[in-house]
């Protein structure tokens, strides 16, 4: 089929688009962020989360102590000029333990003794769960049929084991380490993400642009990852953010039960557990401050996610 010359004297004039000024990258990112700024909820959440990320990142310069320095002469003391938040039962500065504890959760993942990667356990737990969950969700949702059934049953199996039991099993089998916490988080987080992605996929695959891709004979992988996934990113991102909150909360619970990182790691949950014994004795600080930390961080993440979801739903 050959395209011939256009007929001279074209009768129908060309359409020019409405004057939308060319947006540069910077402007577009700013535009995206402005959605954030429009929501007060998101701003409050962001502020809290940013605070914790900041203190975790700059921990070494924000305190003169290390989280392991013990001062036998000053256990369970309240806030004072030398220790802003007080000390725990071994005389360690609580503030230092808090911010170093935030590091492992949010900022750094130690894989071996001397090797670490950026992003904490909570972050990595959710990221890996995202990767696996998105893959399974897309596969089951787009393909349907027997493959969908298999995927759903795998997810069911993953959801069937209670999280604490799961952690116990993994810790017992693989040992207590940050990496294993990430593995456990992945198993816990994948089914929820997979289901979300699957239901988004089921909806998006009815659209005509997917039909159009199919009539072009595009491969299923192309359709899933290039055509469907970018249109599902909104809800997925919001969900992932919420999951980081859940992960932190879960780790707090596990640490409290003694299943978190081994001592002397500054694990917030185990700090609460240790400090619990001294509350009635008049030194609630060792239990109080880590609890506040967990609470604020989780609430901050939830607010952020909520605010994002509100704003993106506004135009539905």
């Amino acid at each position: 089929m050959v395209a011939t010359q256009q007929t001279a004297g074209d009768q129908t004039p060309m359409e020019t688009p409405e004057d939308v000024p060319r947006t540069s990258r910077v402007k577009r990112v700013w535009g995206g962020l402005s959605v954030l700024f429009a929501s007060k909820t998101a701003m409050v959440g962001l502020f809290i989360v940013a605070f914790w990320v900041f203190v975790a990142l700059f921990a070494p310069i924000l305190t003169p102590y290390t989280p392991f320095e013990q001062d036998w002469k000053a256990p369970n003391e309240g806030p004072s000029t030398s220790h802003i938040l007080g000390t725990d039962e071994l005389g360690r500065d609580i503030w230092s333990r808090l911010i170093y504890g935030a590091r492992v959760v949010l900022v750094i993942l130690p894989i071996t003794e001397n090797f670490w990667i950026p992003g904490g356990t909570a972050i990595w737990g959710v990221v890996v769960a995202l990767v696996v969950g998105v893959f399974l969700g897309l596969l089951g949702g787009y393909h349907g049929g027997w493959l969908d059934e298999i995927v759903m049953r795998i997810l069911d199996a993953m959801m069937a084991v209670p999280i604490i039991l799961l952690f116990l099993i993994i810790m017992a089998a693989l040992g207590q380490s940050a990496l294993n916490v990430v593995i456990a988080m992945t198993i816990v987080g994948t089914p929820g993400i997979a289901r979300l992605v699957r239901s988004l996929t089921l909806d998006i695959k009815t659209r005509e642009y997917i039909r159009s891709a199919e009539t072009r004979g595009e491969s299923p992988w192309y359709i899933m990852f290039v055509e469907i996934l970018p249109n599902a990113r909104g809800p997925i991102i919001v969900d992932a953010m919420l999951r980081v909150g859940y992960a932190i909360f879960a780790m707090g619970t596990l640490g409290f039960l003694g299943l978190g990182l081994p001592p002397p790691s500054p694990d917030w949950g185990s700090m609460v557990a240790k400090g619990r014994e001294f509350i009635l004795a008049g030194s609630p600080w060792a239990a109080l401050w880590p609890s506040v930390a967990i609470g604020t961080l989780v609430v901050g993440l939830n607010l952020f996610a909520d605010g994002l979801r509100e704003e993106s739903m506004r135009y539905q």
Binding site: V2, A3, Q6, E15, T16, P17, R207, Y209, S212
Partner: protein, 706 residues
């Protein structure tokens, strides 16, 4: 405009004076409609015509104060039976609504509560507003259902909405509206969601009720044909303003506002074809509410007659004749005014295809079947023992398409045209039959076909809002097929995309735009460019213009025509709008319940001999010409289920012609599958009635205009 409280027999039931409605938004008040002036008397039907976004529904909601939390009437008055409605309290308006003002909406499924039986919904209207007892209300409801020609009225009262068809649901909604004998009935696009033949029956009903009940009626629609049928007077709306008002006959005969003229020129009238006539679209787009000028004519930027005077101040309604006004400073002389736009008017094709000896076939369907297996509910089927049931969506279809020609496929919902096309393009598995494309057998689904074949058959889809991926720019989406099928070398891809954009009349800046920045018509053009990108020999268009406004439809149809001429593509064009199909196609196939009942050259289909179904379809299409005489042949009953189609001729259960035109009263139609009767030039009719009898039938349409 009488101010006396007693009801004057000829006083208007409703009067709108200088009505202005605005919506509150984050950026301030946005004016949706302004300067609305019209009145409706008892027994009159006022048609409110306009395209999407013109504000016609806003006016209706304004009258009954349904504007929502952010809508408000900011100026003017609405007088109902002499009493001012603006400024009334919620309680007072509530009393007025169900009792003396009633409203019928577009989608009956949304107007009826799916969880409540119809009887209860009907009686509720009565018991809420009057002090009838349940029993009395029930009897009155049954009476009303009979009045709207509902078969089995008593039984229907006990059914749920999903157990009756769309047309019947709309009748129930109309019955509900009429139960309290309202003084004013507002109908907001009541037939838009219905099939043509069902629509015709509902319009018949509306006319019927008009005569009996003497209700004042405001009828909102975008379909000029429907307005011509149902209304006495009409108001044309554009961008929130009333631009023309008058009787239906006058406006159709002599439209005085350039917008009205543009609308009428962009709609194909049944019987016209691309050979001898043209569609003239209105260029540009409707300005959004925030960008409408207060001191100039709102239509000026798109007007072919605009001059500098038009933007100096807002034109007022100028009387052209008795009762006919138009908001244009040139209204009285519009016929003789010269066009000021540089655009040359289009010329018709003026020549059909030459009859060459060689007819190269590009697509051949032989006994094509596409069945969907029906999920059986019985326990036996769990074990694989149950009887397998199939929805016979396409049952034994044979068609033939020649190179360079356009085949139109018409039919109502459920006839199988969409499934046929899906089977052609490979989105559905063909159950049986032969499918030959360019000499190759293509019984397989898309994933099994050769890439070289895939690229030669591409599709344009129906819904412009979902035809483009919202995450990618226009340029990327058009480039994808080019890259995939390697139509041009990598470095020339962008150039090719720009060329395609030019071919669909979109300028270069569209390359970087995202779909949400485009209008419906523009998105559809991008969809067409994308289909063209692989330079296919066959383009399948699945209702490409059904979801677009009337004036935009014309632009897209013209575009498809141009593409056909320039690229020489063959096309299959599916639509339910018979006027559009007639205009655009060379050959037409009419489908009913999975089968083709008539196929032939376009002009042959629209003249006798007709298949009885085609005759009924043509009799049902609303024609935008109040003077045209159209036959009123109506089909009874509903479309049978495709799970269990009728024996013999599938149409026999509803055929209006078989009893009178066959010697045995049409018994043969029940027993035997009809033969194909061949008329001239490849025109075939699938019917038992002999051709000579069919030829004697009167043509469906007589136009009074010479």
């Amino acid at each position: 405009m009488s101010d006396s409280p007693e009801k004057d027999a000829h006083a208007p039931v409703i009067e709108l004076e200088n009505l202005a409605i605005a919506y509150e938004t984050r950026k301030g008040d946005v004016l949706a409609v302004r300067n609305i002036n019209f009145s409706v008397r008892e027994g009159e039907t006022m048609g409110l015509v306009g395209e999407s976004g013109c504000g016609k529904s806003t006016i209706a909601f304004g009258i009954v104060n349904f504007l929502g939390p952010n809508g408000k009437i900011i100026d003017g008055s609405v007088r109902f039976q002499g009493q001012e409605l603006v400024g009334r309290s919620e309680a007072e308006l509530k009393k007025l609504r169900g009792d003396r003002i009633a409203m019928v909406y577009q989608d009956p499924m949304q107007a009826l509560n799916p969880a409540v039986r119809l009887g209860e919904q009907l009686t509720e209207v009565l018991t809420h507003h009057t002090d009838m007892t349940e029993k009395q209300a029930w009897e009155r409801s049954v009476e009303m259902l009979k009045r709207v020609y509902m078969p089995d009225a008593g039984d229907v009262m006990n059914r749920y909405p999903h157990q009756i068809s769309g047309g019947q649901q709309q009748r129930v909604v109309i019955a509900m509206a009429m139960l309290n004998n309202p003084a004013l009935l507002i109908m907001d696009e009541p037939t838009t969601a219905l099939d043509v033949t069902v629509e015709a029956a509902v319009l018949d009903l509306i006319e019927d009720l008009k005569n009996d009940f003497n209700t004042a009626n405001i009828f909102i629609t975008h379909n000029l044909g429907v307005v011509a049928r149902v209304s006495d007077h009409m108001c044309v709306m554009y961008a929130g303003e009333l631009v023309e008002r008058g009787t239906v006959e006058e406006i159709f005969k002599l439209p005085c506002h350039p917008y009205t003229r543009g609308l009428l020129a962009s709609v194909p009238k049944l019987g016209e074809s691309k050979i001898e006539s043209i569609l003239t679209p209105i260029r540009g787009r409707v300005p959004p509410p925030a960008k409408r000028p207060r001191d100039a004519c709102v239509f000026a930027p798109r007007c072919d007659y605009a001059t500098d005077d038009c933007v100096k101040e807002k034109p007022s309604l100028i009387p052209v004749s008795e009762g006919h006004v138009a908001r244009c400073i040139y209204a009285e002389e519009i016929e003789s005014r010269p066009r000021t736009s540089k655009r040359k008017p289009r010329e018709a094709l003026l020549q059909g295809h030459e009859e060459t000896g060689e007819h190269e076939s590009i697509l051949d369907l032989e006994n094509l079947k596409v069945y969907y297996p029906q999920e059986s509910q019985s326990v036996a089927s769990l074990f694989g023992l149950g009887e397998k049931k199939y929805v016979k969506a396409v049952d034994d279809v044979s068609l033939h398409l020649e190179k360079g020609r356009t085949l139109g496929v018409v039919g109502e919902s459920g006839c199988g045209k969409s499934t046929l096309v899906k089977g052609l393009i490979g989105l559905e598995q063909v159950t049986d039959g032969d499918l030959e494309f360019m000499g190759f057998d293509i019984n397989d689904t898309v994933s099994e076909r050769d890439t070289r074949l895939i690229k030669e058959m591409q599709m344009v889809f129906q819904n412009p809002d979902s035809t483009l991926n919202p995450s990618y720019s226009v340029g990327k989406q058009i480039a994808r097929p080019i890259r995939r099928f390697k139509t041009v070398p990598k470095d020339q891809v962008k150039g090719e995309v720009l060329k395609l954009l030019r071919a669909v009349r979109l300028s270069a800046p569209y390359y970087d735009r995202l779909p949400r920045q485009l209008s419906g018509g523009e998105k559809q053009r991008v969809g067409i460019a994308r289909a063209l990108a692989s330079r296919p020999d066959l383009i399948i268009c699945d209702e490409p213009v059904s979801a677009l406004d009337v004036s935009v439809q014309a632009a897209v149809i013209n575009l498809l025509l141009e593409i056909q001429q320039t690229f020489g593509s063959s096309m299959i064009f599916i639509a339910h709008d018979l006027s559009v199909v007639r205009f655009f196609s060379d050959d037409i196939a009419v489908m009913y319940l999975g089968q083709v009942v008539e196929v032939g050259p376009a002009d042959a289909i629209y003249e006798p001999p007709y298949h009885p179904y085609t005759e009924a379809l043509l009799s049902a299409v609303p024609i935008p010409d109040p003077e045209a005489e159209q036959k009123e042949l109506r089909l009874s009953g509903n479309v049978p289920s495709a799970l269990n189609p009728p024996s013999g001729c599938r149409f026999h259960t509803r055929c209006p012609r078989r009893k009178e035109m066959l010697p045995d009263g049409g018994e043969i139609c029940k027993r035997e599958v009809p033969p194909w009767q061949v008329s001239e030039k490849g025109h075939r009719i699938f019917c038992h009635i002999p051709l000579e009898e069919l030829k004697k039938v009167d043509p469906v349409i007589h136009s009074k205009a010479a």
